[in-house]
């Protein structure tokens, strides 16, 4: 196995277990590279990548840009605010205009589910999905699973609970696919209103009791409440949510074993997770961010190697 089975990374759903393992193995090498005095390799010096963000992002965009630059790719950035999108241009037109400037790969974040897949079918460049609405966020899931593998040695057989706004979370869906492909057991936990009705059909356990979920798991991935995607009230107040589903030191210390705490960011301190937990030694939140660059380098490197000359 020395090539990905896909030409684009639109979702974890399309990847095989071998693909994910290949990405991790490659990421191991890049993690070593980004800890050298000179953190750059020349592999992609003849590749141009456009980062097209139709939705806000700090971490993901920065992480992608660093990954691209450390591979020596040329990078152009585009964000929807202040662009022709506001003037009524369609997605395909926007992207084709950018591609006319000889761009080989597009990293895109878009508010509509399926936007990345749609794009990959319409254009010649390679597409990497950096989040499409409430659908998938594949590189986040890869870096989450990579961080679990790094911390616990393996993902297979581990129990992972994803807590919070599962309904609006692309991170949750990608994580479920990724963890299951690697042989982990997944549980989702949150208020009934924020758990999709048929999610058990994906083979995940469902719980509405945080303490019970935490007792079961090896790893807890705490998601942010995505108020910007919630058009109606899903729970009475943030305070009530935080009392029932927020992770604090008291609950963590009451557990019978030590669990690993993760968060994809950005953190709402005091809502889904308290500061003393976020900054504790059980939390691998900052390692996730570091691994994000290595994993994205691996994804881009492997996809770029399939671009014809």
């Amino acid at each position: 196995m020395d090539n990905l089975s896909v030409d684009h990374l639109t979702g974890i759903k399309d990847l095989t277990k071998e693909d994910i393992e290949l990405i991790f193995k490659t990421a191991d090498s890049f993690k070593e590279v980004i800890n050298r005095p000179i953190k750059k390799v020349p592999s992609l010096r003849d590749i141009t990548i456009a980062n097209i963000f139709f939705e806000n992002s700090t971490r993901t965009r920065l992480s992608f840009e660093l990954a691209e630059k450390r591979l020596s790719a040329d990078v152009v950035n585009f964000s929807a605010s202040g662009s022709s999108v506001k003037k009524g241009e369609t997605l395909i037109d926007t992207v084709n205009n950018i591609l006319s400037m000889k761009v080989d790969m597009v990293v895109m974040r878009h508010p509509n589910p399926g936007a990345a897949k749609f794009l990959s079918q319409k254009i010649k460049a390679r597409v990497v999905n950096a989040g499409d609405g409430t659908h998938e966020h594949p590189t986040q899931a890869l870096l989450d699973a990579y961080s679990i593998r790094e911390k616990l040695g393996t993902v297979a057989g581990k129990k992972v609970v994803i807590v919070g706004d599962i309904l609006h979370s692309r991170v949750a869906l990608s994580n479920i696919y990724c963890l299951q492909k690697l042989g982990a057991e997944v549980m989702v936990c949150g208020p009934t209103t924020l758990i999709p009705k048929h999610i058990h059909e994906l083979g995940v356990k469902v719980s509405h009791n945080l303490l019970e979920a935490l007792e079961w798991c090896d790893v807890a991935n705490m998601l942010r409440i995505q108020l910007e995607r919630q058009d109606i009230k899903y729970f009475p107040s943030l305070r009530e949510y935080s009392m029932q589903f927020g992770l604090n030191k008291e609950i963590l210390n009451s557990l019978s074993k030590e669990i690993v705490v993760m968060h994809p960011g950005p953190i709402n301190r005091g809502v889904e997770i308290t500061s003393d937990v976020a900054d504790s030694k059980q939390s691998i939140i900052l390692q996730q961010v570091e691994n994000g660059v290595a994993v994205r380098m691996a994804v881009i490197y492997l996809l770029a190697s399939k671009i014809e000359r």
Binding site: K25, S29, S43, L71, S305
Partner: protein, 182 residues
């Protein structure tokens, strides 16, 4: 494919011993020198040299492995992606004398990549090259070795393989010749 053993186990061991003595001649007690093997096959040469050197010097010799995958000049020119091996340089090369080590010197392209990869770890005082087998007259780049186990003259169509006990079952160097080339 016709097979011809260039060095058998005994000859190979003798060659490695000679190379070790040559290294000691130039590098003394190795206090300012480190050995860096190129992945994937150079690391086995380093392992052997390290054993012999440490036996003679009676102290540890600093060794590392360097993967050159991301510095190659044939990215996207191959059918398959090139999957990296492990780099393991947990020491500073700043102002050190570095001996790059590989099993076979052929076109010189690997060594060129190795030099670039090495420099991402700092600025060594000097870099030298040691190869077990030098395939003469096949170079694509102006690169020559400082220490050579054995020179051989080969055709492009031929293949040289350095084999090791722990992988292939026997320590030896083999030359493969295509029969059609006579």
């Amino acid at each position: 494919m016709e097979k011809q053993v260039i060095l058998n186990e005994k000859q190979l061991q003798l060659t490695l011993k000679r190379l070790s003595h040559e290294l000691i001649e130039s590098h003394g007690d190795f206090s300012e020198t480190v050995l860096v093997g190129l992945q994937p096959r150079g690391i086995h040469v380093v392992k052997k040299l390290k054993e012999i050197l440490e036996e003679i010097l009676q102290h540890a010799v600093i060794c590392g492995n360097l993967d050159i995958t991301f510095f190659r000049d044939d990215f996207r020119r191959r059918e398959k992606a090139i999957i990296p091996s492990i780099t393991n340089i947990d020491f500073s090369i700043e102002n050190k004398k570095v001996v790059l080590i590989d099993d076979v010197l052929y076109t010189g392209r690997t060594i060129r990549s190795g030099l670039d990869a090495l420099l991402t770890f700092g600025r060594p005082a000097k870099v030298e090259l040691l190869v077990l087998i030098d395939r003469r007259f096949t170079r694509d780049l102006p690169i020559q070795a400082d220490y050579v186990g054995k020179d051989i003259d080969t055709l492009r169509s031929e293949k040289v393989s350095v084999e090791w006990k722990q992988i292939e079952g026997e320590d030896k160097v083999v030359l493969f010749t295509k029969e059609s080339n006579g």
